[in-house]
């Protein structure tokens, strides 16, 4: 009963917020040129210390200005952090026909920015953290911001947020934590993911207690309004079949949609949230799904600007 009430309230609050936002969007539509129309997004956030959930319209001034100036490409470089760069890694652990290879020098850049994420849940709402963990991947996007897939932190089937997440950058084996681990403070995703499970909005962002990004650095990101077909990329994460070790799959973009990218890099369960990286260590997408073609949530103009706040 308590759970039903909570769900009703959460749903009702989201509906009220959506109705309010839709009204605002309508007002904007009436007052602005359609060419410069910028879609409104609501970001849902959970404080993983207090449990408080809030909804906020994302400020789209940046996007509006970019449209006005006819910007069709956005880019930020990677930041290598305060650690001195070590030698480059060469692929040396190819296994059979599996195109993935293990990254053993996880403390080298950019690999040290890629984090293993363990999420904890209270599925039965009994007030005690379950003996349950979800595993995913994420990547540092700022001093204390880790990007991941929305479904890593919000389970659409359960309609439930995780209680909290523990993030470990550069893990290389059981118990390995070269830079320690840090805990989530606030987690974010889109209400579009929460309400409809839209794969186009399957992104998440975890704010962390420590500013570990200042030490290990963070990845750049890149958005273009054009196609990315044929771009060489790699997906590097912590696949569930190779527990607690980092693996990289190389490939290229096979299909570009406005909010999703498809690619032929090998991936496995637990790599959700891994960066889809170009050769400049810029994230083009967030890995989310496997299937006939693996796919990820594209870093769109809007998402780029949203993430930029944490950079």
């Amino acid at each position: 009963m308590k759970r039903c009430i909570k769900r009703f309230i959460a749903g009702f609050s989201a509906i009220i917020m959506s109705v309010t936002t839709n009204s605002m969007v309508s007002a904007l539509d009436n007052n602005s040129n359609m060419e410069n129309h910028v879609e409104q997004f609501i970001v849902a956030s959970k404080d993983t210390n207090s449990g408080e959930i809030t909804y906020k319209n994302f400020d789209t001034k940046l996007t509006t200005n970019a449209r006005n100036n006819k910007v069709n490409e956005l880019s930020t470089p990677a930041y290598q952090g305060s650690i001195s760069q070590e030698e480059e890694i060469s692929p040396n652990n190819v296994i059979g026909n599996d195109d993935r290879y293990r990254i053993t020098h996880t403390t080298d850049f950019p690999y040290r920015t890629i984090c293993r994420i363990v999420t904890y849940w209270d599925k039965d709402n009994d007030g005690v953290i379950d003996n349950t963990m979800g595993i995913g991947t994420g990547f540092l996007e700022g001093p204390n911001a880790v990007v991941t897939a929305g479904h890593v932190i919000y389970d659409k089937n359960l309609n439930m947020w995780c209680e909290y997440a523990i993030i470990t950058p550069a893990q290389d084996g059981a118990g390995s934590a070269p830079y320690g681990n840090t805990r989530s403070t606030i987690i974010h995703t889109s209400t579009a993911w929460i309400e409809s499970g839209s794969a186009d909005q399957d992104w998440g962002l975890i704010e962390t207690q420590s500013d570990i990004g200042n030490q290990v650095g963070w990845l750049g990101k890149f958005w273009t309004s054009g196609s990315l077909d044929g771009t060489s990329v790699h997906v590097t994460g912590y696949p569930g079949d190779k527990p607690q070790t980092m693996w990289r799959g190389n490939g290229s973009i096979t299909k570009s949609e406005s909010a999703r990218l498809f690619y032929n890099c090998d991936t496995m369960g637990a790599e959700s949230g891994a960066p889809v990286l170009n050769s400049s260590n810029q994230a083009l997408a967030i890995h989310a799904n496997g299937g006939s073609y693996n796919s990820g949530t594209r870093i769109t103009e809007w998402l780029f600007n949203f993430l930029e706040q944490f950079n």
């Binding site: 449990g51 005690v128 059981a174």
Partner: protein, 224 residues
């Protein structure tokens, strides 16, 4: 009038939300050392490093099951048979017996006593109808298929979990929200017709690649 009702409802919802959050905060024990799993009801592990390191489903022989004595703790049985892959979300362990059968040890609490003897437990094993890649495939390039045995379900969401006899003897949760379910003879079926230890073929378009993974099913066929 409508505006007033909306305002009252919003105030009501927000008030209850705040109360709910406060109540939850009082109950949940947020550990500062969060890698320690706080409830060990279903696990013999004390931290997730140990749990996840058992990444493969263990292969055993039927004679090993036969040796189990009745009234043994489930935790002891698992030690006796050997640690196997822990999918994390449910109170069960699975083993591959004699390379062709699935044995699922289910329990509500790992510290409970199992009343069954080895012979009785052995009678519950189920042969895989298909193994590895030897199962009916989708004719569509965009649709993937897999064979599996339902081994458990999430009691909170009714989500089914299947064991897949692939190279790793993996397991996945089924997302059935958009799935059409039917029997092998073509008769329509529903989620209620899906039961533990049934063989099923699933057709799906994508997998959410968390661990355990969640497979987005478009069609499920119950084959026995």
């Amino acid at each position: 009038m409508i505006k007033k009702i909306a305002v009252i409802l919003l105030y009501f919802a927000l008030s209850i939300s705040i109360i709910g959050c406060q109540n939850k905060n009082n109950n949940i024990n947020y550990s500062s050392n969060a890698v320690i799993i706080e409830s060990t009801t279903c696990s013999v592990y004390t931290n997730n490093d140990d749990a996840e390191s058992n990444s493969l489903t263990r292969k055993i022989s039927s004679s090993e099951i036969k040796k189990i004595k009745s009234n043994t703790y489930y935790s002891e049985i698992i030690k006796q048979l050997g640690e196997t892959q822990d999918f994390g979300n449910s109170c069960f362990r699975q083993y591959i017996v004699d390379d062709k059968n699935l044995f699922v040890l289910s329990f509500s609490d790992i510290q409970d006593i199992c009343p069954y003897s080895g012979e009785e437990l052995l009678s519950t094993i189920k042969p895989f109808k298909y193994q590895y890649d030897n199962f009916p495939k989708s004719e569509s390039d965009d649709l993937l298929s897999a064979y599996g045995i339902i081994v458990d379900f999430d009691k909170y969401t009714d989500t089914k979990f299947i064991s897949i006899p692939d190279e790793f003897y993996n397991g996945m949760y089924l997302d059935l929200q958009n799935a059409v379910i039917s029997f092998e003879n073509g008769n329509s079926a529903s989620i209620d017709d899906l039961n533990n230890m049934q063989d099923i073929i699933i057709y799906y378009d994508y997998i959410q690649e968390t661990f355990p993974s969640v497979v987005h099913c478009l069609e499920v066929i119950i084959i026995n």
